[in-house]
Amino acid sequence: MTEPGRTPWIRTLRSRLTAVLVVGALGAVVAAGALAQSGKSSLIGKLEGPEVVTDPAKFPRSLKEAPQLAALVKAGKLPPVAERVGQDPLVIKPLHEIGKYGGAWRGGFTGPADFWNGYRCCSGPDHLMFWDYTGDKVMPNLARGLEMQDGGRAWLLHLRRGMKWSDGKPFTADDFVFWFEDIYRNKDLIPTPSAAMAINGKQGVIEKVDTHTVRFKFPEPYFMLPDVLAGSTDLGGQWSAYRGMGGFAPAHYLKQFHPKYVGEAELDRKVKEAKFDSWVRMFLAKNDWALNPDLPVLSPWKTATAINTATWTLERNPYSVFVDTEGNQLPYIDRVVLTLAENLEVVNLRAIAGEYDFQQRHIDLGKLPVFIENQVKGGYKVYLDPGDYGGDMIIKFNLNYDADPEIAKWFNTADFRRALALGIDRDQINETFWLGTGTPSSVVPADNNKYNPGPQYRKMWATLDVKKANEMLDKIGLSKKDAQGYRLRSDGKGRLRIEIMTLGGQFVQFTQIAEMIREQWKKIGLDLVVQEVERSLALKRTAANEQQLGAWNNDGSEHLFTFPLHVFPFELAAVATSGPLYVKWFHSAGTQGKEPEPRMRELMEKWKKAFGVPEKERIQLGKEVWKIAAEEVYIIGVIGMGPASMGVRVVKTNMGNIPSRQYNSPDGKTPGISRPATFFYKK
């Protein structure tokens, strides 16, 4: 570090691996001034969004529809709009104004696995309940309402009368029963029951009450169910295609691919004809909204040409139940056209060139200056949507690492973890990689999050204090150093060297940031080895308990209870792990794996308990979970509440009802939380 003012840019240049960034960075140097002038504040606006209207008095009296649908009705090819929408429309008050019909929304995607681009905005299995724009409150969505019974042991889900699938067939309680009996309980389709359908490890059931009412029944109170239905969970819709989850499915369509409803011989013939390996593969492929244009959906748009082609197109669902406050059936925009980009650089360049109307996913924060520079030319505006989670980048200690007892010992020493956290110069990292748009932070979520334990936890063990870090390390028994100033192991086997595992090609440049931390930790005498690995290898190593430190983000953790995997060891299949043996212990109720230390156990118990208690008590438990996480530093928070993960949004200036800031989270399937069905083209 020579000249503090210049260092970040030099760092930026050095850290760029791809050549386009060298080109981009030339522009970046030019635009750096522009960024400094426009500042962070003008890019991050006020959190806002459309609202769901639940008061029937405010419902529109009559319904209107897009011109091309009106033409079809006139030609007798489609029933009238009132019949299609049904008696209980889902009324949404657009953010700014009533829009106009028409236009095609151009965006990009990177291949058949990148279904998120269409899922988050437009289609797929929509949620029964969903968040309001603040991401805080659960509102009715596809379901008309949710009613608690029997002290939380049962929940009545009220469906909308007359609501239909995109092929015009009614959406009823039978679709839930079909899912529960024939998909969820079919061992070939779903070998292990989902935790989302259980409370305290005890599975619940789904029953039909009448055509428009469904009951979820659980052996113990399950107060969390509304959040689970609204969140990105097994009941939150999105895993239907890949894993057969979802809570409901179009029974009338899928029965033809299910062994219970067609003969085995006929099913075999169908599987062979379609060249699938098994009926399960075929069933899941048929149940994939992005892959199979024939699959009936409930979302505003539906797939017209599949995701495994060069252009993935979605068109308006004529049976969409969404309407605006004046009774216009949503969506306003006719079609969504997502073009295949072979790599992320192409996505970014196309966005810079103004070839996308609205793109958020894959937009690289590191190129922000270039985006700003080309705003006028490309006819777009850049918005930043910082996340509410505490870590755009976090570092997990693998508390179960046992290949080297010395390292295992230090990882399980709280002061060692805390000292390492104090050795990170977060401001330098923030300036270099987040261009100053992030917040140096511990792992706790944003201050306005209901589970945030209090302002004093933001900076807890999350400031730069080299002196204190050194003192702490000296005190715990790591005072001896070698000639280069690195601390020596206490077992006399040379230098204490620890490894961090990173993944390349992610939204955040983990490897480059880890390299910077490596330099910073030299000042506390710690020798860090940065290892970038391919993700399959990372997964294999974490599962085999071979990881020491792992870098990742904790996006989603602001919804502590629906997205806990970056708060404590919750999941085996992780690219960064806090302890695979604790995961086993947690999920096997203590019969397998390894029992965690008392504080970790306390954290786990509080988290688990929260599912079965009323909201007020749950919020208290959530705060306590975060308190323990921040105090014990099982995970180091580096930079948080920044826009690095899908938080840079490029939107054409002629698009209307665009929020200046939106809640950015996987749970909110941003921009889904801003109701893209209300977006429109002003001209």
Binding site: A19, T192, D277, N308, V346, V575
Partner: protein
Amino acid sequence: MLAYIGRRAVLAIFTVWAISVLSFVIIQLPPGDYVTSYIAQMASMGSVVTDEEAQNLRIQYGLGQPIYVQYLKWMRLIAQGNFGMSMEWRRPVTEVIGERLWLTVVVSVAALILTWVLALPIGIYSAVRQYSMGDYLATFVGFIGLAVPNFLLALVLLYLGFVLFNAHIGGLFSPEFNDAPWSWARSWDLLKHLPIPALILGLAGTAQQIRIMRANLLDELRKPYVVTARSKGLPELRVITKYPVRVALNPFASTIGYTLPYIVSGSIIVSLVLGLPTVGPLLLKALIAQDMFLAGTIVLLLGVMTVIGTLVSDILLVWIDPRIRLEET
């Protein structure tokens, strides 16, 4: 002559078989399998895939079986003309590759023709007029072409294309023609997009071929038979084209073996950068996702093309160079 070709053909069949084994082994080399990479992908999106589910997936995909069983199954499928199902694209491999193969061939053949059209005359010129201004210029440009990595060139051209001409970024078609059925308008659109990828892909090859042509021709030009031909009074053009150029073409013919697979795979990085819908990026993604059948089929395809290419160049050599023909008979 026939026996010669026959022998080569039999050898070729064996080689193809060996390649099929090798390509299958190569796909299995990295740690994990498609299910691991699938779990990783799910995990990075926050979804839990349990051990039982993973096990189930392995059974469904037949990944749990010993490798030779998997290989035999694959071979049996291929014998029926079915190359398997791409796990990631969830479509038959032949469909996934098929639509891209033609575009790949178009781009690469364009690059190849460009290479030869430029390289042969320039190479001949700089050999015949050695140390002239033109030779120096060709050498200079040639070395730059060799030294600049073509993906970098691609990036620079993309950026300049956007900044200066507001050109569409990447791809082989304008957005409106992406999925359109083939028509004159679409072909014309393709032609308009072709020059830049062809130029970038062809440039390094051009530089190389110029150097090879020049060096070979220089060797030949100094040989006594050229002097003899001149002294007998043959016109200069005829002296050069009839014998030395023909001999100097030898290496061109013998490299066809590598040129054919290059047509498919040589463009991986450039295609990735330029966003071309060709086979290259497909192979890369398939390898990353460990999409076994897709990657295996492409690697096999490359192998087969190398073998066919070698066979073709063997035959061409016999045809161009009488000396080889004489040795054989």
